[in-house]
C-alpha cells in the first residue's frame, strides 16, 4: 500500500465524582437546566475555584491504570477563549504540568498486539451546553459547567479505524472498571477528538493533520476515520494540499466538513492559574490510590477461565461490562453450577440487555434472583428452558421466583410414569417420523422430542423425555 494513516486521539472523559471540579455543586447528568450551578461554576464576579480532591484521586487512578507516571508536582493553567458555554471565558486546564505522563494501552486487533503510547492525562473542567432553537434563539444550560474532565492524549501511534476502536474500547473498559466515569458516550461522558494525517509509506515526516472534535459514538468514529483518511489521500493524489484545521464530521453526509477559518486560529494565551495552588502528591498517597485499583477486565478473564472453568470467549463477553462481571461474581458466590450461570448470562442476560438497549449497570435483575433461578434449575425443580423464561420475566419485572413458578405451574415434570404414556401417544400419532427415524433420519428424533415437550408445555425434564423416547424407539426397532 502506498499511503499510511497516522492517528492520535484526545479523549475527554467526565469523572463521576459527586461534586464538580472546582465547587460543591452536584455533578449529575440530566437535571433540569441551570439547577446545579453556583457563583463559582457560573463565573460570577469574585468567585474562586477550589480543587476537588476526589477528582484528583480519580484522575491519578486512571493514570496509574493506564501505565502512566503520576507527577508529584502538577498545576493548573488557564486556557482563554470566548464562547457562551464558558462563563469565565477561560477553562481551567493543565498545559505546563499535567497530572499524569508517559503511559500506554496495549491493544489487540485480530491477534496483532500493539502498544499505543499515552503522552499525558491532564485535568480540566467541562463547559456548559448550548441549545439552538429553530427560531434562532440559543439557550445555555450551565449544569455541565465545571464537571471534572480528564483529557487522555495519545501519541500518534494509531493507523486505522480498527486500532482506534480497539484503543477506545480498552480505554473505556478500563475506566469503567475503575469506576471513575460512567463512560456513557450518548451522554457525552466520553468524547474523542481525532487528529489524523496521511503520509507516503516510505516517508519519515508526518503529513499535515486535521482534527475532528467531540465524537461520541464508536460507529461514527469508525466512519469518520475511514472517510477522512480517504479524503486526505484523494486530495494529495490529485495534487492538492491538506490544511491544518478543525473539521466537523457530518453524520448524515458521511464526510468531514471544513469549519469557519476563525475557529482554527485560536491563541489560547495559556498562563498559570493564579487562584489555585499546585497539586503536590506524596508517593505514599500515590501508592494508596494504586492499591484502590480493582481487578481489571483482562485480569478477570484469566480468573474466570482458571478458577471457574468458563470458556475464554464467554469470559470476554462477561467482562465486557464491569457491572456484568460484578453480577457474575456475585452470582458465583451464591450457586454451585457456575457453568450454567455463565452460560445463561452469555446467552440470555446479554441478549436481553441488547434487546432493551441498556447497560448491565442499569439492569433490574439482581444477582440474588438470578442465582435463585440457576439453583432451582440445577436442582431439577425447573428445567433449563423454564429457567430462561423466568430470567426473561425477572429481567423486566420484580417477581418472587418460587411464587411465580407455583402460580404458573412451571415445576419440572420428572415422573417417567407420566412422561412415558404421552411419549407413546406422540410416537403412535407420528408414523411418518417413526419410519424416518427407523430409516436413519436422525432429524426425526429431534422432532419427536419437541412434540413430547410441547405436550408438557416444555416443562418436562429433557433427560427423562430422552430416556422414555429411546425406550419406546428401542422397543419398536426390537419388535420389527
Amino acid at each position: 500500500m502506498k499511503w499510511e494513516t497516522v492517528i492520535g486521539l484526545e479523549v475527554h472523559v467526565e469523572l463521576s465524582t459527586e461534586t464538580k471540579m472546582f465547587c460543591s455543586c452536584p455533578a449529575i447528568f440530566g437535571a433540569e437546566p441551570n439547577t446545579l450551578c453556583c457563583p463559582v461554576c457560573m463565573g460570577m464576579p469574585g468567585a474562586l475555584p477550589t480543587i476537588n480532591a476526589k477528582a484528583v484521586e480519580y484522575a491519578a487512578m486512571a493514570g496509574l491504570a493506564l501505565n502512566c507516571a503520576v507527577s508529584p508536582y502538577s498545576r493548573f493553567d488557564r486556557k482563554n477563549y470566548f464562547y457562551p458555554d464558558l462563563p469565565k471565558a477561560y477553562q481551567i486546564s493543565q498545559l505546563y504540568h499535567p497530572l499524569c505522563t508517559n503511559g500506554f494501552i496495549e491493544i489487540d486487533v485480530n491477534g496483532n498486539k500493539k502498544k499505543i503510547r499515552i503522552k499525558e492525562i491532564h485535568m480540566e473542567e467541562d463547559a456548559g451546553k448550548l441549545f439552538h432553537s429553530d427560531s434562532g434563539e440559543t439557550k445555555i444550560d450551565f449544569n455541565r459547567c465545571g464537571i471534572p474532565l480528564i483529557e487522555i492524549v495519545s501519541e500518534a501511534d494509531l493507523s486505522d479505524e480498527e486500532e482506534v476502536t480497539a484503543y477506545l474500547e480498552k480505554l473505556k473498559l478500563t475506566l469503567e472498571y475503575l469506576g471513575v466515569s460512567t463512560c456513557r458516550m450518548q451522554e457525552g461522558a466520553l468524547r474523542a477528538d481525532i487528529n489524523l494525517s496521511v503520509k507516503k509509506k516510505d516517508e519519515t515526516e508526518l503529513g499535515v493533520r486535521t482534527e475532528m472534535k467531540n465524537m461520541n459514538s464508536f460507529r461514527e468514529i469508525r466512519r469518520a476515520v475511514k472517510s477522512e483518511s480517504e479524503r486526505q489521500i484523494s486530495v494529495l493524489e490529485n495534487g492538492g494540499v491538506i490544511v491544518q484545521e478543525t473539521r466537523r464530521w457530518d453524520e448524515e453526509k458521511g464526510v468531514s466538513v471544513s469549519m469557519r477559518n476563525k475557529e482554527n486560529v485560536h491563541d489560547y494565551r495559556y498562563f498559570p492559574e493564579p487562584d489555585l495552588p499546585p497539586i503536590v502528591l506524596e508517593s505514599e498517597w500515590i501508592d494508596l490510590v494504586k492499591n484502590k485499583i480493582p481487578a481489571l477486565a483482562h485480569e478477570r478473564v484469566l480468573k474466570y477461565v482458571e478458577l471457574f472453568g468458563v470458556s475464554h470467549a464467554d469470559a470476554k463477553i462477561i467482562t465486557s461490562q464491569r457491572a456484568l462481571a460484578d453480577f457474575f461474581e456475585n452470582v458465583c458466590t451464591r450457586c454451585e453450577n457456575v457453568k450454567m450461570a455463565s452460560n445463561l448470562i452469555v446467552t440470555e442476560v446479554v441478549r436481553l440487555l441488547k434487546d432493551d438497549g441498556i447497560q448491565a449497570s442499569d439492569m433490574k435483575l439482581s444477582a440474588e434472583k438470578f442465582a435463585q433461578i440457576i439453583n432451582l434449575a440445577d436442582r431439577g425443580d425447573i428445567n433449563v428452558g423454564t429457567a430462561k423464561k423466568i430470567i426473561a420475566v425477572a429481567f423486566s419485572q420484580n417477581i418472587d421466583v418460587p411464587d411465580y413458578i407455583k402460580s404458573n405451574s412451571l415445576e419440572q415434570i420428572n415422573d417417567e410414569l407420566v412422561i412415558l404414556p404421552v411419549a407413546k401417544d406422540v410416537v403412535e400419532s407420528n408414523p411418518k417420523s417413526l419410519s424416518d427415524y427407523m430409516s436413519g433420519k436422525k432429524k426425526a428424533y429431534g422432532f419427536l422430542v419437541g412434540q413430547i415437550m410441547e405436550q408438557f408445555g416444555f416443562k418436562a425434564n429433557p433427560t427423562k423425555v430422552n430416556e422414555c423416547l429411546m425406550k419406546i424407539l428401542d422397543e419398536k426397532s426390537g419388535g420389527n
Binding site: 457560573m42 469574585g46 468567585a47 477561560y90
Partner: protein, 487 residues
Amino acid sequence: MFDITAVKIGEKIKKGELSAVDVTVATIDRINALSGHYNEFITLDVQGAVAQAERVQKGIERGEFLSALAGVPFVVKDNICVKGMKMTCASKMLENFVSPYDATVITRLRKAGAIILGKTNMDEFAMGSTGENSYFGATLNPYDERRVAGGSSSGSAVAAALREGFYSLGTDTGGSIRQPCAYCGVTGIKTTYGVVSRYGLVAHASSLEQIGPMAVDAETCAAVLDLICGKDKFDSTTVDYNVEYLNSISNDIKGLKIGVLSESFSDKTDKTLGDNVLKVCDTLKYFGAQAEMFSMPITQYTLPAYYVISSAEASSNLARYDGVRYGLRSNFCNNIEELYVNSRSEGFGDEVKRRILLGTLVLSAGYYDDYYKLALRARETVKKAFEKAFEKYDVILSPTTPKVAPKINSIIKPIDMYFGDAYTVAVNLAGLPAVSFPCGFSDGLPTGAQLIGPAFSDAKLLNIVHQYQQITDYHKKTPECKKEGQV
C-alpha cells in the same frame, strides 16, 4: 463621637454607653452631610444598615457579638461582594449588578456584628492610581477638592479620612490601599498574600491582591484584621496563619532595625514629603529603634514587571464580562461576535481597555516569553532582593508615594500615573505586608510613609505604626481641621 477610635466605640457599645443604632444613625447623618462633596460613595444602604444595627444591638444585649467591633459601622470598596447589594466596580459594565453572595470578609464581619453602610467609589475594576477612572466620576481629595483622592480605593480612603464609618475595606493590587491612604492622611495595610481571603473580591490581578482595612489608625486596622484574617475553604490561596493583631499592638519595639530604602529618596520624590518620612526614623528611635539607609537597585524593574503581570491576569479575569449572563449587554448586536465586542466596548472605560489589551498582548504566542515570562523572572528577583534585605533589617521604610496628591486631570499620560505606584508595587510582587500611615503634611496635603516587612510580619508592622501613633498626632488630623486652619 467621631474623634474616638473604632475600638473605643466598640467598647462603649458593649458597655451600653452607646447603642449600635445611635452610632449607625449618627454616621449616616454625617455621610449625608459630607458625601455630596467628594463623590466617595456609589451605594448607601441606610435602611439595611439601621436594620442590621437594630439586630446587632439586640444581640449584644443578649450577650452575643463579643467581637471588638460589634455594632461599629464600616464601608466597603465596591469591588467586594455584599449579598443583595449593588456591586458596580465603578464600571458601566456592572452598573446594575447585584451580588448574589457575600465575600468571605463580609461573612466574617457580619458574624462579628459589624454594620455595613454602603459601597465606596473607586477606579474602575481597581485599575488606576488616582480615583479618576470611575464610571461614576472622580473621587475628590477631602484636603483639597481640586486634587485626586488616590486610587484605586479612593472612596474608602476618603470615607476613612472623613470618619464616614469607623473603617473602610479597600483592596490593594499594586498600592491601591496604601497610595490613597497616603493622599488622604489615613492608615491602611496590605497584608501578606494569603492572610485575607479573596473570595468575593472581584479579581483584577489574582496573584497580587489582598483586601485590607483603611482607617484613622493602626489600632483600628489591627482590630479589623482580627476579624477578617485566616484560612478560608473558598480561597485555596489563603494560608493557615493565626496571630492576635490587636493584642500585639503595644509590644515593645526596642532594637528594631529599620532599613531606609535609598532609591525612594531620589529627586523623583518631593523634598518635604521625603523629609517627613525620614523624620519617622527619628520618632521611632525614641522607642529604641535603629535606622540606616540601604540600597535595593532591583526597584527599577518592579514597575514594568508589575504592569505586565497584573495586566496579563486582568485580561483573563475580566474576560467573563462578555454580556452573556450578567452586566451590560449592548443593544447593537446581531450575532455572538458583535455581542462580545460591542458589550465590552461600551461597558469598559479606557484604562480597563488599555490593560486588557496590554495583558492580552503579553500572553500571546510570540510575546509570552519576552514579556510575561520575563516579568515572572523579575518577580522572583524582587522576592529574593527583599529576602536579602530582611536578613539585615526588620522592616523597610520608604515614602508611600513619590509626591502628594496631584491635581485632577493633571496626569495625561497613563505611564505617568503608573509612576505613582513606583514605591508600592514591589510589595505586591513579593507578596509582602506593608502599611501606609500619615507622617505629616506638605503644603497642607498629607504625606504617607510606608513600612514593609517580611511575610507574616503584618502584626509587627501595625505594632510599630501604633507605637508611632502614640506620640504623633498626624493621624488624628481631619480635613475639617484643615478648613479651620488647625494644620
